[in-house]
């Protein structure tokens, strides 16, 4: 277990170094990055002063090392529009984004597993065709359009769900206000249900297909046939024998899905004016607030890497074939 853990941690560190390198390159790729940090009508002297202050006059490798050093301390410079450290601005928005990501993952996985299993068991029947058509469609709908359509139909027309806003759950939880957190929980979920579905539709659709084909494959295996021939009830064959093995490809995908969900969150938060990192990034893009964009992207990448690490550890526990 320890070797696996150490190896996996080491990989994550390499990836993190890669992330800092990529974000550093992205700053430099458009030429002198000083221009990204000064106003459009800055004088030559002002630009010169900014270049010196920001350290862009130093050799590239020195710039990179100091970039990494600062990034390690969470210092991405000051936000150009909020007049406080970019990292603080991003961290403030982080709990809301984590809530939304996890909720949409839970919704997507929770719905895709029964749908996929049901389709596999009803293979070739109209209900299977229906679920698979829905899955195909779900993989073709842009998440933000899904959000817009839900706002129009369920929000404005039927008035079932709020079209924007957010009730915090993690924030009071982290602050130790457990009572407040859990009184907030139902409201929080009520506000999140539309954005979470919009973010999760793609994952839901893809996983339903995956569960179905994985289940179909497992159902043809010898051990399932053996179990059936022993006269074990169909319910037990499915839940005890087939599903345990059909699980593994799904868990592997969950890690990859986080990347997708986080990417989706950035766009969907904007649609629902949801106060997370996504909407913040969108505003920062429009105001060309580079420090905030950089800090957001890196924080999202770190969240993604950490979640992936956790998923891998869970996977190692689930699948005895993974050497621990």
């Amino acid at each position: 277990m320890w070797t696996f853990l150490v190896r996996r941690l080491w990989q994550s560190i390499i990836v993190l170094i890669g992330v800092t390198l990529i974000s550093f390159i992205s700053l430099q790729i458009g030429g002198d990055p000083t221009y990204l940090f000064v106003s459009e009508n800055a004088t030559t002297e002002e630009i010169e002063r900014a270049r010196e202050m920001l350290g862009f006059d130093r050799p590239l490798h020195v710039q990179y090392l100091s970039y990494v050093w600062n990034a390690l301390q969470g210092d991405f410079g000051s936000s150009l529009s909020y007049r406080q450290p970019a990292m603080d601005v991003v961290l403030e928005a982080m709990p809301a984004t984590i809530e939304l990501t996890i909720f949409s993952l839970v919704l997507a996985i929770g719905l895709s597993i029964p749908l996929g299993i049901y389709a596999a068991l009803k293979r070739g029947k109209p209900i299977d065709g229906g679920i698979m058509t829905f899955a195909m469609l779900g993989q073709s709908i842009p998440n933000f359009w899904m959000g817009i359509m839900m706002i129009m139909f369920f929000g404005l027309y039927l008035r079932w769900f709020p079209i924007s806003g957010h009730v915090p759950f993690l924030e009071p939880l982290f602050a130790g206000e457990f009572r407040e957190a859990f009184t907030n929980l139902p409201q929080s979920m009520y506000y999140m249900i539309m954005p979470a579905l919009a973010v999760g539709t793609y994952t839901l659709a893809r996983n339903a297909r995956l569960v179905r084909s994985s289940m179909l494959e497992v159902l043809q295996q010898d051990y399932v046939r053996t179990a059936r021939s022993k006269g074990i009830s169909e319910r037990r064959v499915i839940f005890n024998h087939a599903m345990r093995n059909a699980w593994l490809p799904v868990v592997t995908m969950i890690g990859l899905e986080f990347g997708f969900l986080l990417g989706g969150v950035v766009v969907v938060e904007t649609v629902f004016s949801y106060p997370g990192i996504g909407r913040l990034t969108f505003q920062a893009i429009n105001q060309r607030d580079i420090p905030v964009v950089q800090a957001s992207v890196i924080i999202l990448a770190v969240i993604f890497i950490l979640l992936n690490l956790i998923v891998d550890l869970i996977y190692a526990r689930l699948d005895p074939r993974v050497k621990l």
Binding site: I29, P142, V267, I285, V297
Partner: protein, 307 residues
Amino acid sequence: MADTTPSAVTPPKREMSYRRKEWLRAWESMVASRWALVGMLILIIVTFVAIFGPWLAPFDPNRQNIMMRLLEPGTPGREDLTYWLGSDQLGRDVLSRLLYGARVSLLVGVAAIAVGGTLGTILGLISGYYGGRIDDVIMRLGDIQLAFPFILLAIMFLVVLGPGLVNIILVLGIGQWITYARIVRAQTLSLREKEYVEAARALGDSTFSILFRTILPNIIAPLTVIASFNVAGVILSEAALSFLGLGVPPDVPTWGSMLSESRDHLLSNKWWMAVFPGLAIVFTVLAFNIIGDWLRDFLDPRLKENA
């Protein structure tokens, strides 16, 4: 030059008929799956619109007309012209913008895959054929990229580079290379040990010729399948980036940017601004996904998804 002995003439003829047979088989399989036929039909329509959009569009997609703002679909305009799909907040015709938008979506989708596919294929061939340290470096680079949500990467680069067709094609294309590199590498690894590759080597063919004339033609099939799904993915990414204001410049109509503009008019129920561009994206992406599914089953029945 004119060698007319029967033995020299027959082989090309046989090849022709073999090809024709393959096309026929493809057509039959497409008709049999019905969905694939629908996908193909949508694709043909979108391609037609992308090419002939400027002639089909009733209005100049950028012509603003304050008198004709936010008209409902079907409202007649001046000069016998009708706003079939309504007009937007600047009085521009939604249908015309939609027709022009097909261009950007399709162009970005196909060009980005061409960039990413070529880059990935070359790197994959090199990686798989030579192995060793160069293989290690290429694959680790890919691992780093895959460990990073792609859209974030695109955002980071496009914010600095600014919007533009070439920028978005390059960023989306480079984002895809590793998918191709991995597949090509795996296939090359197994193919390089095959007899016909060894034969080519023994005959003194150059490495370039072995890679591109002997190995590459044998791995085109899986690449085609991936490319089809990938175009769908890239079109979705382009729409998302345009929605965020990071796509092509604002004067080029795109489906993503049309949706972005529609957001401000949701509360006043200007539904046509949001519904039509979205449907255009859904149908186009759906078509590529369906064709990808069909291609996978057709080209490699072993991969068939337990249908």
